[in-house]
Amino acid sequence: MQTFTLPLALLQAGSSLLSLSSVDLAIIALYFVAVLGIGFYLKKYTKTGEDFFLAGREMTAWVAGLSFLAANLGSLELMGWAASAYQYGILAAHWYWIGAIPAMLFLAIVMIPFYYISKTHSVPGYLKLRFGEPARALSAVSFGFMTVLMSGINMFSMALVLKAILGWDMAVSIWVSSITVALYVGLGGLLSAIFNEVLQFVLIWLGALLVSIIGLIEAGGWNGMVNRIHANYPGQDFTHLWRSLGNFTDNPMGIHWVGIVFGLGVAISMGYWTTDFLVVQRVISAKDLRSAKMAPVIGAAFKMCVPFIVILPGLLGLAVLPKGWLVAENAVSAAHPHSYNEVLPIMLARYCGPGLLGLGVTALIAGFMSGMAGNVSAFATVWTYDIYRAVFRKQASDEHYVSVGRWCTILGVLASIGTAYLVMQFKSIMDYVQALFSFFIAPLFATVLLGMLWKRASSAGGFWGLLAGTASSIGLWAWVKADHSALRYVALSPAAKDMAENMFRALWSCIICAGVTVIVSLATKPKPERELVGLVYGCTDVPGEGHLPVYQRPLFWAGIVAAVFVAIQIIFW
């Protein structure tokens, strides 16, 4: 789940924010050498389809878990949510906590057994097994389209950020990063993508963590920071998670707790973390079922900590930067040259000297590349298995599909570059992509969940439910675009803002998808139970974990993570 408000503001930045020393440049150059070296090294271990598309299904829980999280932790995520924290305060942390943790734990405990036991290569592949070819085709085509679009926009955004903060040429940034990603994913497939994602995850943390540590020292610890924020912005609440969510008009996001809990916490978050193949692919590459279940739990534990390197720098900006120094995107001027969106690089420049600055910029580049590689590797898998093999060539050798996967990787990168240039010409595309993304994700969750938990769900029910959910989401979006007063029906309040509209639209599409799936299923013939073995609860023997010591059971660790999650909500209530 990413924000796309960032680059448009950066377009207005006239000069670069940071200047790098030779040590910084050496650190960045070494990073490129390392990721390419890993790609070349792993090529010899990537021979079969399982190797290339699912990393041989040999990942440990730790590697799969960190990669699961890193594929989501792009730089737009880092910079966009730091900016949101500066704008909205700690409310932005909802996207890391209720907007992620319950869904990740749900994936681990409830859904992973079916993805894993069915031995599917992809989420559309699961839909094919459960609901048949039409549901797979709809899901695969929409996923492939969205993935390339997202990858291209990420690429464009990265180039824009590097131009704004470092003064680098956009075309050079796009081509250098794209060729690097194409090489290391094309050579080593998912194996290489995952290895590099783990490396990138470590670099992101080590590069960004220092900003929060030194910032807290400057602000006088957490309490000092809160006091400074209150002094800078009297009467405004930037440091509580839930208190101001009782009314749309009581908080700067213009959102209600119903939207946060059900729209974000259920529809969008569950949809993204449990059915977006970009992240699910990392988990089903695990070496066994226990590792596959542990991977999202490990990911959730780290995800809970990400606000420390993303949200906290934004809050520190509120505390230590002069009041009103950063302004909204549309208020940037000669007197106020910097927008909220630049808060992270500004904090980086505030605390990081030679070497550390290079590490921080490397963290941003690593974030961009991990997101891009995630998109490209997922695209290659879905295109090869769910479109090419299903439509164009059903019977071919494993070697042939690996070759197609490599070409798809290059094709995916080229299509992403094309999208990046398209966005350069038509920047309004970015306004629509966030909405486009939500069209497909929220209803997909209802389809997959009903497929896994309800034996009676029929093939026709799955397909028509998914189609109706997607169509209703598009319809609601178009309705509000055409008539803004429709917001009172879609988001339950005319005071709702964009975020709230997204949350409620996702919720409606999820409900409509589930409703249509149930109605059509009840009116049509279900699949025989023998065809549901390994796909649905009640028809599948999920291996128990009773023989394992308690501390080795995923459920135990999921319980620990859930308890910490609840404690955090209470602490920051």
């Binding site: 990393a55 490396l199 670099l203 400057e218 605390y351 000297g353 070497g355």
Partner: protein, 73 residues
């Protein structure tokens, strides 16, 4: 994952952190020995580069040694 002969990802990470640590700690020590007349960063007196670089060296060395090729699993 561990395939026969495959170098662990943690070794690559350790090696990169070790080199980064040396570069960052070196730059920090240089700043400590000959501080700039007008520091461009806040809290420059903390010399974050020195201790953060040292931390990277320690982490990098541990991972490089523990997961060095040929040490088995």
């Amino acid at each position: 994952m561990h395939r026969p002969g495959m170098i662990s990802i943690w070794f690559f990470i350790g090696a990169l952190l070790l080199v980064y640590g040396i570069l960052i700690c070196g730059a920090g020590i240089y700043d400590l020995v000959s501080p700039p007349e007008h520091p461009t960063i806040e809290l420059a007196g903390l010399h974050a580069g020195v201790w953060w670089g040292a931390l990277l060296i320690v982490l990098g060395a541990i991972y490089t040694i523990k997961f060095a090729p040929g040490k088995g699993k």
